[in-house]
């Protein structure tokens, strides 16, 4: 039932999210539109209340500007009829907060707390200041002979559910793919697991979104999302080797 409520609210805000965020960054993963819709929902809620607050604010400044011979009212703010100007917005904020919390947790749960069945797993090794991606190769299994090892270039196939195993060799890094709306810190000594499912094809930025030292500003990579045919061709060409970068 929760999922149903979630889907219903999401469907209201999805077009706005597409307009706000989707127009700036392509919607590239199965959960990107969830995040965009959540952002739209928050934008509508705070936009509405913020606008109301501004209207009240500027109206009061204009209405009660200093006029000759007119004194200010003596009001303590504890009068019942005045207090409701505070207590009603107060209640409205609580209601909005509850909706935002519900939607935020549903989105979060879907992306970060559950791990759907994977079609393939990639290992992402971060280090000062480069990305090393280990693809499972044609057999679909990591740590076998046909693994494909690349620097600063991640090849994935559209429509497949990927798990990632994110590790760091030195300091904190953050695997960030804006078109996926995905971020995850890499922590030395730990394997961070997560998932994504690309829904479009093309070549996009991978960022390191955690300060990682002098070269943080050059620690970018590209993600190449391919059709099944392209991906199969790339894999058979490069299986078992350290593939050289094809872009950049």
């Amino acid at each position: 039932m929760l999922q149903g409520i979630y889907e219903f609210i999401k469907s209201i805000f999805a077009p706005i999210g597409d307009f706000f965020i989707g127009s700036l960054v392509p919607v590239g993963s199965s959960f990107a539109s969830d995040i965009d819709s959540l952002i739209a929902l928050v934008a509508v809620f705070v936009g509405f209340w913020g606008l109301l607050a501004y209207i009240a604010f500027f109206f009061l400044i204009f209405r009660f500007r200093r006029k000759d011979g007119q004194r200010a009212k003596y009001v303590t703010g504890e009068e019942k009829d005045l207090k409701r100007w505070i207590s009603w917005p107060h209640a409205a904020i609580i209601v909005c907060d509850v909706v935002i919390v519900f939607m935020a947790i549903m989105v979060w749960y879907n992306i970060k707390q559950r791990l759907p069945e994977a079609d393939a797993t990639v290992r992402i090794v971060s280090q000062q200041w480069a990305w090393n991606f280990i693809h499972p190769g044609p057999d679909g299994v990591l740590d076998t002979e046909d693994d494909i090892n690349t620097f600063n270039e991640l090849h994935v196939q559209e429509g497949m559910v990927y798990h990632y195993e994110l590790v760091s060799k030195d300091v904190l890094h953050d695997f960030s793919v804006p078109v996926f709306r995905l971020k995850q810190d890499a922590i030395p000594g730990r394997v961070m697991k997560g998932w994504f499912k690309p829904t479009i094809t093309g070549t996009y930025d991978v960022q390191c979104a955690e300060m990682c030292g002098v070269g943080h500003g050059i620690m970018g990579a590209r993600i190449i999302i391919e059709t099944p045919e392209e991906h199969a061709a790339w894999m058979s060409q490069n299986k078992g080797q350290l593939a050289s970068a094809t872009t950049r």
Binding site: T76, G77, L82, P89, I111, Q113, P188, G213, H216
Partner: protein
């Protein structure tokens, strides 16, 4: 000054409150012994300006140090914004910005603006200046601790600036200093810079701990006879609650700073996973302090704004008690929200749900506080003087900072927005109103009291509009860049093909920054010119109620040599019906006839 007479005058002043009086009097005597005899001698330059124990002089020391540090921090922002707008070109007045320098500039811009600008100017300068004057005391309870606090603060500033001139240069691991980057020289390549940085920050904390003890004790013990808890001006409540929050939150971070220092210097490995440590531990210690810290600097600014608004709207603060309770609520809840900075940092994902809830809860008292401020305008007689413009601008700009925080507190949306320019724009919409607008509201309001001269209104308004318009032109484009996925602390976005095309907005923001910095010259000119030939202010130029306006401008050593004031009512009794004047100073004895 005759110490015994002072104490005695106080006791005699209010026959109704004899017992309280005697206590208050004895405190006065103690503090006067600390420096009372100095007043007999002609004070030398050193004892008057450098080793002073006078709260007003210490306030000035903090304020001018803060202004100098703000200029340094502003200069840094100029250098790195120019690099972003025109990557790889030599910045006029700086030179080429290398990758490492870019990181050091960004890191220290943040560190300076929070720890060496917002804190000294808002808490220390206004706290020191206002607390004794607004409660009708002649000085702080612990004047020498107060002096020590500034001396340690000064040393901390020197250490921080020195960090730029050591081999390897300044620390560039972001103001959050996450290990292992900050802990290992092999990773950050600034072995001395990183150590100087953490030592400077730790010293700064010690300085503010000492200052905070003084503020809290003074407010609780040295109030004028008759000043009850609900008669304390809001700005003092806010400064003291901020000091309490600081004292309660800084302990873990000082512990963390010691551990980080030992990791750096003797290789202990508290935060090194290869040796049994945990880098996430630092993040918890840092943000357990770091989030309450936001409210530590917010509250004094909110307090300044409250006092300014009441004076220039000629209005009583709308529901004083409710505002105070929302401050208490905010203070307490602020200890339960820290991990919203760490949603994607590798904490247990279930924890994010808890912190989403607490973070959205804290929006309630803060929003309520803003509503109450806006409601204070209702029925007022609003005079748009320069201080009032700043105070109103604080509300208008902070509102944007507040509502954009909701996006980041909602865990699901933060997955995308984390560490983007959206975050950056969000917290500049909170910290700029706090540290800059709040400071300008305060300085333009209390300048007449501090220096005995009026500031120029025309220059004040030019400065105001130039700063406010330019400020919005800097940061609104950065919201858009953040929404487009632009991530933080990157010295050249041309390295990221998807982001490279948005260069126009970066150039625009940089230009707006230069305009804003240029307008600060107007303020400095106004400041100096007003000092030299401003109109004499008199005791109470704004016709305000609070006690500081009953002292001479500027107040002499001891504040009220003729005898300390008593307090008869709350601080915001403006426009009371049936009275001829629209203000009613706190020290004015009640009307003998039952006028009310």
């Amino acid at each position: 000054m005759d110490v015994a007479k002072q104490g005695a005058a106080r006791v005699g002043d209010d026959p109704l409150n004899g017992i309280d009086m005697a206590e208050a009097g004895s405190v006065t005597v103690d503090t006067h012994e600390a420096h009372g005899h100095e007043a007999h001698h002609e004070q030398s330059f050193w004892s008057k300006y450098v080793f002073s124990t006078d709260h007003k002089m210490i306030a000035m020391q903090y304020m001018f140090t803060g202004i100098v540090m703000a200029l340094i921090g502003g200069y840094m922002s100029y250098a790195f914004r120019m690099q972003l707008a025109f990557p790889g070109e030599s910045v006029p007045g700086y030179g080429l910005v290398s990758q490492g320098e870019y990181n050091a500039l960004v890191t220290n811009h943040g560190t300076i603006m929070i720890f060496w600008v917002a804190m000294p100017m808002l808490i220390a300068a206004f706290g020191n200046f206002l607390i004794p004057l607004m409660i009708g005391a002649d000085d702080m309870v612990f004047p020498r601790i107060n002096r020590l606090s500034y001396q340690i603060f000064f040393i901390s500033a020197v250490v921080l600036i020195a960090s730029f001139f050591v081999p390897g240069g300044g620390f560039g691991g972001a103001w959050t200093a996450y290990p292992p980057l900050s802990a290992n020289a092999q990773y950050n390549l600034t072995p001395l810079g990183a150590t100087f940085w953490i030592v400077a920050v730790a010293l700064e904390f010690v300085a503010f701990l000492l200052g905070g003890i003084n503020f809290i004790t003074t407010l609780m013990n040295s109030r004028a006879p008759g000043m009850k808890m609900y008669d304390i001006p809001m700005v003092l409540w806010m400064i003291v609650i901020a000091s309490i929050l600081f004292m309660a939150s800084v302990g873990p971070l000082i512990a963390g700073a010691v551990m980080l220092f030992m990791d750096q210097v003797i290789g202990t490995g508290f935060f090194d996973p290869n040796r049994g440590g945990d880098p996430i531990l630092w993040q918890h210690l840092f943000w357990f302090f770091g989030h309450p810290e936001v409210y530590v600097v917010l509250l004094p600014a909110m307090g300044i704004v409250a006092d300014v608004i009441c004076t220039f709207a000629r209005k009583k603060l709308f529901n004083y008690k409710l505002i105070l309770f929302t401050v208490f609520a905010t203070g307490i809840i602020s200890f339960f929200v820290w991990a919203h900075h760490q949603f994607v940092a590798g904490i247990d994902p279930r924890m994010a749900n808890v912190f989403t809830v607490t973070t959205l809860i804290i929006s309630i008292p803060i929003a309520e506080m803003l509503f109450l401020y806006i409601a204070t305008l209702y029925g007022g007689s609003i005079q748009l003087t320069t201080p009032m413009l700043w105070a109103l601008a604080f509300i208008a700009e902070f509102l944007i900072g507040g509502v954009t925080g909701i996006f980041l507190g909602a865990s699901g949306a933060d997955i995308y927005f984390h560490d983007t320019y959206f975050v950056l724009a969000h917290f500049h919409y909170t910290f700029f109103p706090i540290a800059i607008i709040g400071f300008y509201a305060g300085i333009t309001y209390w300048f007449p009291k501090m220096f005995g001269k009026m500031m120029n209104e025309a220059l004040g308004k030019i400065h105001f509009w130039g700063t406010i318009i330019a400020f919005n032109c800097i940061f609104i484009p950065l919201f858009i860049l953040g929404a487009a996925g632009q991530h933080r602390r990157i010295y050249n976005f041309q390295n990221f093909p998807d982001l490279a095309g948005l260069q126009d907005m970066r150039v625009f923001a940089t230009m707006a920054l230069i305009v804003m910095l240029a307008f600060q010259v107007v303020f400095l000119v106004n400041f100096v010119m007003s000092l030299i030939k401003g109109k004499p202010a008199g005791k109470n130029p704004w016709k305000a109620n609070t006690l500081e306006w009953t002292a001479e401008s500027p107040p002499p050593h001891g504040n009220w040599p003729e005898g300390l004031p008593n307090c008869y009512r709350g601080p915001y009794e403006y426009s009371v019906p049936g009275r001829e004047e629209d203000y009613w100073p706190q020290n004015a004895p009640p009307d003998t006839a039952p006028a009310e």
